[in-house]
């Protein structure tokens, strides 16, 4: 009993001492999870399908922006306007690569099954196969090791938040993440394009009768989710470097975030991502680093068992 008490005293001590740094780190990761989670949630909302290969879209974005950064950045560290342009370029480069790969994925691995009205198990297996194919092909073509990305800006501490240093990279992740999440919310919520997405999500058959092109809408969903995921790959690569298996763990966490927020729900995915990032970061105070994944999986299982509809509830069509 005393030892359990001692455990909490020590570990809450660490949490109290390191609260702000952990919060900053957690939110920074959380934005990345949120951006990836959007991809899961949108595809799920429309197709009722877990896009298992979304991790590889994230990875594609990482690699594309890696090559772009290397081509654009010379030996000296850029600054000022150049930095801003490079970050925008990286987001666009990663995002477009992600969107393109998502399109190819939909065309090759999903559409033939959709044409046949294949059972849902078939989609999942096809997606798993596509994921393994894609990341191993990337490993073959680009090498199976970590590579750091050329940095478009000098990553220094720009201000301190209650004693916690906030670095340039965290700020950029937060900024890009916020802008993209809000934009997407607006696009889906109040444009014609978004209306067709919501219509298909609510009732595909009726939407099709009303003249919505279902194939086109599904491609749009993959492209939007792929863009977010690819851009997240760029931001993640800036911090941790790139690698052919880089998608696996972040994407699993993002999936957890999507379930946590209520799968199929855009705002839920954003909130779930941020929440998961913070929870994960705070658990640093309590567990050995290797067990962080266990915490996340545990959370996933708990949510699925006790509140499978997540925080905000399911359905893309209704609440976005």
């Amino acid at each position: 009993m005393a030892s359990i008490f001692g455990f909490f005293v020590t570990h809450f001590g660490i949490l109290r001492k390191e609260f702000w740094p952990l919060l900053v780190g957690g939110l920074s990761n959380g934005f990345i999870y949120a951006m990836v989670a959007i991809g899961y949630t949108m595809v799920y909302g429309v197709l009722r399908l877990i896009n298992f290969a979304h991790s590889e879209i994230f990875m594609s974005g990482g690699f594309a922006s890696f090559f772009l950064m290397r081509a654009l950045i010379g030996s000296s560290a850029p600054g000022g306007v150049a930095s801003v342009l490079l970050v925008i370029g990286g987001v666009l480069g990663g995002g477009l690569a992600g969107a393109f790969m998502a399109m190819v994925l939909e065309r090759v691995a999903y559409r033939p099954l959709r044409r046949r009205h294949a059972p849902a198990l078939a989609y999942l297996i096809s997606a798993i196969g596509a994921s393994y194919f894609m990341f191993n092909l990337a490993g073959k073509e680009f090498g199976r090791y970590n590579t750091s990305m050329a940095q478009p800006f000098v990553n220094h501490t720009i201000f301190t938040l209650f004693g916690a240093p906030v670095q340039m990279l965290s700020m950029i992740i937060a900024l890009v993440g916020t802008v993209m999440l809000i934009t997407l919310d607006r696009v889906v919520g109040s444009t014609k394009l978004g209306r067709s997405v919501r219509a298909v999500a609510q009732d595909a058959e009726t939407a099709s009768l009303m003249g919505v092109n279902i194939d086109r809408t599904i491609v749009i969903v993959f492209v939007l989710g792929g863009f977010m995921g690819g851009a997240a790959g760029f931001l993640y690569g800036l911090g941790f470097g790139i690698n052919y298996t880089m998608g696996f763990t972040p994407a699993l966490k993002a999936f957890t975030a999507a379930v946590l927020g209520g799968i199929g729900n855009l705002r839920g995915a954003a909130i779930g991502g941020l929440l998961l990032g913070v929870v994960e970061s705070f658990s640093i105070a309590f567990v050995n680093g290797a067990y962080l994944d266990v915490v996340v999986f545990g959370l996933l299982i708990a949510v699925l068992l006790f509140r499978p509809t997540g925080i905000l509830g399911e359905r893309l069509g209704r609440s976005a």
Partner: protein
């Protein structure tokens, strides 16, 4: 004019054929690196490669020729008025016509089993190469066992389990534990022979299957896949980190071999693969008999009912959870048993053997062979494992073993697109897929939402 041509079926075919040839070329071509990202792709065009010693030529020529031939064959077949669906059905029709005598005449049937059995028994006599003898045990027999086990879960009960490797790991580590090869003290301080580990490992694996299954098997099918995947990862993380219990990432090197000592008969298995081959073969046959009995038993029929329509099954008094947990436990038991065999045969354990990719490998065997079809799964496992070991060993046209999972991934996608019921489909499964595609019934409880 050009626009018209681009929209024509011919243009489509040219496009698909070219894309396929390029993809195959890049897949089999040399590797690149981040410093030279285009090297692999560019060299795929220029590199010359020996094709089984028959001729040496540029790789792309071979693939382009192959793609053209396949495309031409399809044309010819279409021209002969047998449409695409018929083409795909040809192997199936062949299979059906060949089946009839085996199903009616008992002596012929058992004769065939006998012949196959004799071939299996005599195999080590013909295969004298040490590497292949070893591979027969490690890469083929063990994988057949594992595929049979996963087939119960995926094929019979229709549950996608991506954490199957966890039960394999549990079996292997349980063996190390009771034989005293782990840092954790052996139970009761006795170091048992691996033979005694068999019931213990199976019991532990089954128990963990039940413990995982009871809460999670209520979930929808796609969630179940992710949750089992998470379970597999948690087990690996635990094995990798708990030095005091599992030996951490170093694993254990001291698992003893099987010994048999009853009265005057004394036998000890050793480094040689052949005795292990016979031991494993014996158990494979045992599991084959058990599982094919199970398929046609009350339990097997209940699984089919649940798989096809869970609500209907429930209304006729079948408790879905009970039967799903049962499938989970039986699958786990065979994986746990395979773990015992591996641990004792290699004397060695490490958490890095038990990764998600291993589960995917087993899944490929089941999907390729045919979900729910015992004979299909056995053939699928034989074919995929022998080919992959062969490629790994002889590295034809520059194959690299680290690319194996790329090919396995491609197999999964291709099977789902072209032959979802597998190489040798189970008749029941095939019908279910056809039903689902025609929009009747609900195959797997996953198909509750309408997929547009």
């Amino acid at each position: 004019m050009i626009k018209q041509w681009l929209g024509s079926p011919l243009a489509r075919r040219v496009g698909t054929t070219t894309a396929l040839a390029v993809l195959l070329m890049v897949m089999t071509g040399p590797s690149g690196s981040t410093s030279q990202p285009t090297a692999g792709f560019v060299q795929s065009f220029s590199e010359r490669s020996s094709f089984f010693g028959l001729f040496v030529t540029q790789r792309w020529l071979v693939w382009a020729a192959l793609a053209l031939i396949v495309s031409a064959l399809i044309r010819v077949a279409k021209w002969l008025k047998s449409d695409y669906a018929e083409m795909v059905a040809i192997p199936g029709r062949l299979a059906r016509s060949a089946q009839a005598p085996f199903q009616t005449k008992k002596p012929v049937r058992f004769g065939t089993y006998g012949v196959l059995m004799i071939v299996a028994i005599l195999l080590p006599v013909f295969v004298t190469d040490g590497f292949w003898q070893q591979s027969l045990v490690e890469q083929v027999a063990i994988f057949v066992l594992l595929a049979l086990g996963l087939n119960v879960v995926v094929g019979f009960a229709g549950l996608l389990d991506l954490g199957f490797v966890a039960f394999y790991a549990i079996g292997a580590y349980a063996t190390a534990w009771v034989t005293g090869a782990l840092p954790a003290a052996a139970p009761f301080g006795v170091h048992l022979d691996p033979f005694w580990a068999i019931p213990i490992a199976i019991a532990i694996a089954m128990a963990s299957g039940v413990l995982l299954g009871i809460p999670t098997l209520r979930l929808r099918g796609d969630y179940l896949a992710i949750v089992t995947l998470g379970f597999g990862e948690i087990v690996t993380i635990f094995l990798n980190n708990e030095y005091g219990i599992t030996g951490g990432s170093t694993g254990s090197h001291q698992v003893p071999h099987f010994t048999f000592h009853v009265g005057p008969i004394k036998y000890a298995w050793g480094l040689g693969p052949v005795p292990y081959y016979y031991l494993t073969l014996g158990f494979v046959v045992l599991f084959l008999i058990i599982f094919s009995r199970l398929e046609h038993s009350r339990v097997g029929r209940s699984w089919t009912a649940i798989r096809e329509d869970e609500v209907a099954a429930e209304s006729i008094g079948i408790n879905p959870l009970k039967y799903k947990v049962m499938a989970f436990a039986i699958g786990a038991a065979s994986a746990g048993f395979a773990g015992v065999m591996t641990a004792a045969q290699t004397n060695f354990l490490s958490p890095q053997t038990f990764l998600l990719s291993f589960s995917i490998n087993i899944l490929v065997l089941v999907i390729f062979g045919g979900m729910g079809s015992i004979i299909g799964v056995v053939c699928g496992a034989l074919l995929v494992q022998v080919v992959s070991t062969w490629m790994d060993h002889y590295t034809p046209f520059g194959f690299q073993s680290q690319d194996l999972y790329m090919y396995l991934g491609a197999i999964l996608v291709a099977m789902m697109i072209f032959r979802p019921a597998g190489l040798i489909p189970a008749r029941r499964r095939k019908r279910e897929i056809a039903m689902s595609e025609a929009g009747e019934g609900h195959m797997d409880e996953m198909l509750t939402g309408d997929t547009p």
